[in-house]
Assembly symmetry: C2
């Protein structure tokens, strides 16, 4: 089984460890509430890995496009996949500029005034170009995707045939810069409003996995594998 | 209290009711699995309203950008808001092309082979340009946003002062075209794989609101308002 201890890898990130991609650029620099932000690739990837899905924007031949997609990471970068025949995958594979975002919605910030209603979130935006993952790394990356979706699942399923392998393209983002923005904590109301007789606080939000629903065509009464209990998306 | 019965409005959409924006265009046409898609604005807006947040992509002065943001709808279009001083809001307000997406993640499709692992989702992408909502419609739209976040909240909070109102810009999307893509149901495995002794099915996913956490600065022991029970995001 392929296991990556993402959180541990990503959270070990120190000020002394910065690379060029960790620096703000004119496009990644946060202008609004910059105290809520950072520019560290490791922090951005930690959010992307925690969420497990997001959107990729790029300039298509017919205009601006946005692609919602599953995402998975290693300590260096983020990956997407798709049919080798997909227009989006072919467009992105040609090295055009793209911009990838993943975010959590951690809570609704219920303030005393309309002005300070907000949400708690973690958002990561990464800039760069996509590169095609070479053939010899494709199967391990598809295994990483399957295990990101359903931890341990790769060991349970029928593996891809050569034709199936060929039908899928895996892309990795060559990251040039990124930005991270996070809001946590209670509302921040105007000082005069704290005395108002209005309830305020945070309603936490989280994405939950429910009880597995067996395929009606399941060949016998086998129970759902324990690994399904570990499914988690942001 | 401002109430909009979004779902009812949006779901009443018939084949005979199509407008120009309901037709596929070169950029909105779905090439992969088009049987999972549609091009109806009402269907797209119903998904956006159900999710309540998403991303807007646009070409910034320093390159492609992607903005995660709260979204709310009326039967005609989708709205975003932000600080009037925000670079993103100012860029979008100048009428440049943009592309907006919202999606749900309804379940993990646990198939018998890697090839057919998937997710159930509803995704809406809308194309167009943003227009500034005029001053006389701004307060009602901010009320609609507050009530989308926390149903009924507008009646409970301190209303915006003229200065606060001015500090916020509301934008509405002038929709030119859109696409919707939806996957539901159990895995679709290769016929030969159904006999394999491998569990398959769907793990439903949903975003849940937790127990409200009172602001530590709450002025008295008042209970959380009942309206918080109705918070829902996709």
């Amino acid at each position: 089984m392929i296991v990556r201890d993402y959180c541990q890898t990503y959270r070990v990130n120190t000020e002394t460890n910065k690379t060029a991609a960790d620096q703000p650029t004119p496009r990644s620099r946060l202008h609004r509430l910059p105290e809520r932000g950072s520019y560290e690739v490791a922090s951005a990837l930690a959010i992307v890995e925690q969420v497990g899905h997001g959107t990729v924007a790029y300039q298509g031949d017919q205009g601006l496009r946005i692609l919602p997609t599953l995402l998975w990471c290693d300590p260096e970068t983020v990956y997407i996949h798709g049919s080798s025949a997909s227009r989006a995958i072919r467009d992105l594979a040609d090295g055009r500029e793209c911009c990838l975002n993943a975010y959590t919605l951690d809570g609704v910030v219920v303030a005393r005034s309309a002005q300070h209603m907000s949400v708690n979130y973690q958002s990561a935006t990464l800039f760069g170009v996509m590169e095609v993952v070479p053939e010899d790394r494709k199967t391990p990356e598809l295994a990483a995707l399957v295990n990101r979706m359903t931890p341990g699942r790769w060991d349970e399923i029928r593996k891809p045939s050569p034709a199936e392998d060929k039908s899928v393209t895996v892309l990795q983002l060559a990251i040039t810069d990124c930005s991270v923005k996070v809001r946590t904590g209670p509302p921040v109301d105007d000082e005069a409003d704290y005395d108002l007789p209005i309830w305020a606080g945070v309603v936490p939000m989280s994405r939950m996995a429910g009880t597995p629903i067996a395929d009606p065509r399941l060949s016998n009464d086998q129970p759902a594998p324990r690994s399904l209990d570990e499914i988690h998306f942001g």
